[in-house]
């Protein structure tokens, strides 16, 4: 079950972070922050491989309570998803989740009144992300 979704810019500034009600927001913030290092490392190492940039980074690093997944777009916008180990999600679903987050981000950027790089306050975007959080909970919860 996804407990937290975060959006970061290419300079790793946080644009948006949301978590499930049951989780501690500060802890989520901290975990996302620590995952930035791992993302950068992965990105720098794959530069030589000349990969296409819309990259699903997979699991970033193991943690006793959470698994952290990363995804980077061509424009170096990073999405980070934290998932509780107690309710694991299938790999295919994680990829699907990321592509939906990406879609929501694209819709946000098409709004002429939103300047890329600003913290995200858009209501439709937050609604989509919250429903994705809840949706993934419903999908894997029994």
């Amino acid at each position: 079950m996804a407990v937290c979704i975060a959006v970061l810019t290419k300079d790793n500034c946080p644009l948006y972070l949301t978590c499930d009600k049951t989780e501690d927001a500060l802890k989520m913030n901290f975990l996302v922050h620590t995952s930035i290092d791992v993302i950068e490392e992965k990105l720098n190492s794959t530069k030589a491989a000349n990969d296409p940039r819309d990259v699903y980074l997979g699991q970033l690093y193991p943690n006793e309570d959470y698994r952290i997944f990363g995804y980077v777009t061509n424009t170096k916008i990073k999405f980070v998803v934290l998932e509780a180990v107690s309710h694991p999600i299938k790999d295919g679903e994680i990829r699907d989740l990321f592509s939906r987050i990406h879609g929501a981000y694209i819709a946000l950027v098409c709004n002429p009144f939103y300047n890329p790089g600003e913290p995200i306050t858009s209501v439709p975007f937050t609604k989509t992300i919250t429903s994705l959080l809840r949706g993934s909970y419903l999908a894997s919860g029994s």
């Binding site: 819709a107 098409c110 709004n111 002429p112 009144f113 939103y114 858009s122 209501v123």
Partner: protein
């Protein structure tokens, strides 16, 4: 015979010109959006922006009507406002915006009606900033276009927005009225 061949060539060149000039709807939507955002930055006053959009629309409309009439030669002269409204909705909007609105709410004197757009390609993905949610009519350019186009065919109309999905309604409604005394 010679003239016939020449006119055929002109027609086919014209058609391929039309194809190569097709622009993706996303580019159009984004262009319009950036224009409105820039106007808002320049004028800072949503009411002023509404006026500017109307003016721009008017200038577009007086030119667009020629294009419209050229591409729909089968349209006959409208004797009543109802026929004109029908043509505006079914042909005009469809040709340029790709959507067909409904015409409803005719007034008793049959000189005022509402155009209801269930989908507005100009406003896709747009969210109004909180400072102008109650004052900016985002697609006001449409009002200007209608006013300009109809003025060129000797119909003086007033067009204004009643409701907008960007302001929370379910549909976008424009009101069109012909002042008394016109044909």
């Amino acid at each position: 015979q010679h003239y016939f061949i020449q006119s055929n060539l002109r027609m086919s060149r014209g058609r391929s010109n039309l194809d190569s000039k097709r622009v993706s709807s996303e580019l159009f939507t984004l262009t319009y959006g950036c224009m409105v955002a820039q106007l808002l930055k320049d004028y800072d006053n949503p009411y002023e922006v509404n006026k500017q959009l109307d003016k721009m629309g008017y200038n577009i409309g007086v030119r667009l009507i020629e294009d419209f009439l050229a591409h729909s030669p089968s349209t006959k002269r409208c004797t009543q406002l109802e026929e004109a409204a029908d043509v505006i909705a079914k042909q005009g909007f469809r040709m340029f915006l790709g959507t067909v609105p409904e015409i409803k709410n005719w007034s008793d004197a049959k000189d005022e009606f509402s155009i209801i757009l269930t989908e507005n390609p100009l406003a896709e993905f747009v969210e109004l900033p909180p400072t102008c949610t109650d004052s900016l009519w985002y697609s006001n350019i449409i009002c200007g276009v209608l006013r300009g186009a109809l003025e060129m065919i000797q119909m003086e109309v007033k067009v204004w927005f009643l409701q907008d999905t960007l302001r929370g309604s379910e549909t976008t409604i424009l009101e069109d009225s012909l002042p008394a005394g016109e044909d």
